[in-house]
């Protein structure tokens, strides 16, 4: 469904991504791992349209994404849960979810998705009237994921959902992400630094280093690779 080929992005002459290609098929769980500064967030921002690429192509269900503005892309069913959560701090939890449901598909499915979001994250129901900025980091991450789900996405992109969270909270988040994938059948593209957990969940993994895709394959393939074992998993 998502097809990225030979994508290059630069920031003022600085290459952030070079010739990156990536494919996500419908129903898949795909993870991109890599160290800080590898270009993972840039990759996501380019898919959402906030960053413009220098060359390459991105298609979603055969549609050329690069010809669409950033805000139009969300209406195709691409939900971006950004790095650092980026909830609407001055809006209530409920209003955050409502804004997630801004595209037509989200509005049509609103009653059902709201129910589902509350089942996955009961705390959001309790905190419905509270301003999102007053929540803890973990709760804000739940708002961010819930907001992503609210648009009834065909592709859910999660950018480091574990960032800055306590290990126990991260476990919950990973569990919910897995539930969203398995039970709701949502296709997921995940960027993570907690490599072991992330790769274990996914059907296919990519390793991004300093803007280059250096490796890709399924869990077993990646696990068999020496570099991945040493640099990311701490195994010998």
């Amino acid at each position: 469904m998502l097809e990225i080929s030979n994508l290059s992005v630069s920031y003022g002459g600085l290459r952030a991504l070079t010739d990156v290609s990536l494919t996500v098929a419908e129903g898949q769980f795909v993870t991109v791992v890599g160290p800080n500064g590898a270009g993972k967030t840039t990759l996501f921002k380019t898919i959402s349209g906030v960053v413009k690429p220098a060359s390459g192509s991105i298609t979603f269900f055969g549609k050329d994404l690069l010809s669409l503005s950033a805000s139009q892309r969300a209406h195709l069913g691409i939900a971006h849960v950004p790095e650092g959560r980026q909830v609407f701090k001055t809006l209530t939890v409920r209003e955050n979810l409502e804004m997630g449901a801004y595209p037509a598909a989200g509005q049509a499915a609103w009653a059902r998705t709201l129910d589902r979001i509350h089942t996955l994250f009961p705390i959001l129901h309790e905190r419905a009237g509270q301003m999102a900025g007053t929540l803890s980091g973990g709760e804000q991450q739940m708002v961010a994921i819930g907001r992503g789900l609210a648009c009834a996405p065909r592709l859910l992109m999660l950018d480091e959902p574990s960032m800055g969270l306590a290990p126990a909270v991260t476990d919950t988040i990973f569990e919910r992400v897995q539930q969203i994938h398995k039970e709701d059948g949502v296709t997921i593209l995940l960027v993570e630094q907690r490599v072991a957990e992330a790769l274990e969940l996914s059907d296919h993994g990519y390793v991004l280093e300093t803007g280059h895709m250096v490796l890709d394959g399924n869990y077993e393939t990646l696990l068999a690779d020496d570099r991945v074992r040493k640099s990311y998993l701490g195994l010998t």
Binding site: S48, S71, F88, L91, M99, P103
Partner: protein, 318 residues
């Protein structure tokens, strides 16, 4: 001064403060909306007020479109209709000028476009003032209504003391309150209002939700201009104005918005109300030339004691 006339003076200052304050409040909301949502400092807001006054004037007397409504209803309908007209003017100003130095175009640049905005809005302000001079001339105008020279007298029950309520100001105040309430409901409860607040809170995240931030910014700018224009139309019923009237009021607007707490749209209403109150009360003890000084003394005191403004609050977790 005997006690009876003192009570009368205070009561009159009180009612004048509330009526004028509500109109100032509406005027401030316009500026507060633009700053709160787009973070654009608009120096031309005083001239937008002036345009609102002239729009109302031409609707009521000049073009005579509303002549059939008579001198009682016409001026107020004219004031309300100045809103949508100046909304369009504001949206056009945004499309061709402001959008080039604000929003996603300058997001992430060193100054977030503020330097450009200062120069552009100051330039618009000068062009509108002097353009107004060419088009409208310098003779003062007013949107005449017999209501501005008649008052309701309310006895206070203490001797002969009574309060005079100017009818024009009273109706203007009511229209201002209704308009402010309508805006409040729109911002709080409608999809458009929520999307506007989301675009203000975090433009990038709003884009991820599929919200066309530039379109909403244009709407916010137009709305901010339209709201101030309605206030201008209302003020035009009781004061005389010319192309340079904006300068006096832009100061009041900025004090109101800062008092209410920068970024708080409804806070701007209370800020404007406070300014109106202070202005009318200072008239009791100070000569008219010092009224603006009184506003700034109260302003400095509040900023000293509550730098976040009267109604500014933080949504951040401590």
């Amino acid at each position: 001064m005997d006690i009876e006339s003192l009570i009368e003076n205070v009561a009159n200052a009180l009612t004048a403060g509330v009526t004028i304050g509500c109109i100032y409040g509406l005027m401030c909301i316009g500026l507060g909306l633009i700053f709160g949502i787009m973070k654009v400092v608009n120096f031309a807001q005083g001239e937008i007020l002036m345009l609102g006054m002239f729009a109302s004037l031409y609707l009521v007397t000049g073009g005579g479109v509303l002549a059939f409504l008579g001198p009682y209803v016409g001026p107020f309908v004219g004031a309300i209709l100045a809103g949508p007209i100046i909304f369009v003017v504001g949206a056009l100003i945004h499309k061709f000028l402001i959008s080039r130095v604000s929003g996603l175009k300058t997001a992430g640049s060193i100054d977030d476009g503020h330097f450009g905005q200062l120069i552009v809005t100051l330039g618009i302000s000068l062009i509108l003032q002097n353009g107004g001079m060419i088009v409208f001339g310098s003779t003062p105008f007013t949107v005449r209504t017999p209501l501005s020279s008649s008052a309701i007298e309310v006895g206070l029950g203490i001797g002969d003391a009574s309060v005079f309520l100017n009818k024009a100001k009273l109706i203007a105040c009511a229209v201002a309150i209704v308009t402010a309430l309508a805006l409040y409901m729109t911002m709080e409860f409608t999809r458009i209002g929520k999307a506007l607040r989301a675009a203000a809170d975090n433009p990038t995240a709003a884009t991820y939700m599929g919200i066309d931030v530039d379109k909403y910014y244009r709407m916010a700018f137009g709305m901010g201009c339209g709201i101030t224009a309605i206030a201008g139309g209302l003020m035009a019923t009781y004061l005389s104005f010319g192309p340079f009237v904006g300068f006096d009021y832009v100061i009041i607007m900025y004090s109101g918005v800062v008092l209410g707490g920068i970024g708080s749209i409804m806070g701007a209403f209370w800020g404007g109300l406070t300014v109106g109150f202070v202005q009318q009360f200072s008239a009791l003890i100070l000569p008219p030339q010092l009224q603006n000084a009184a506003i700034f003394i109260v302003f400095l005191l509040i900023v000293l004691l509550r730098p976040q403004g009267l109604f500014g609050r933080s949504a951040e977790r401590a």
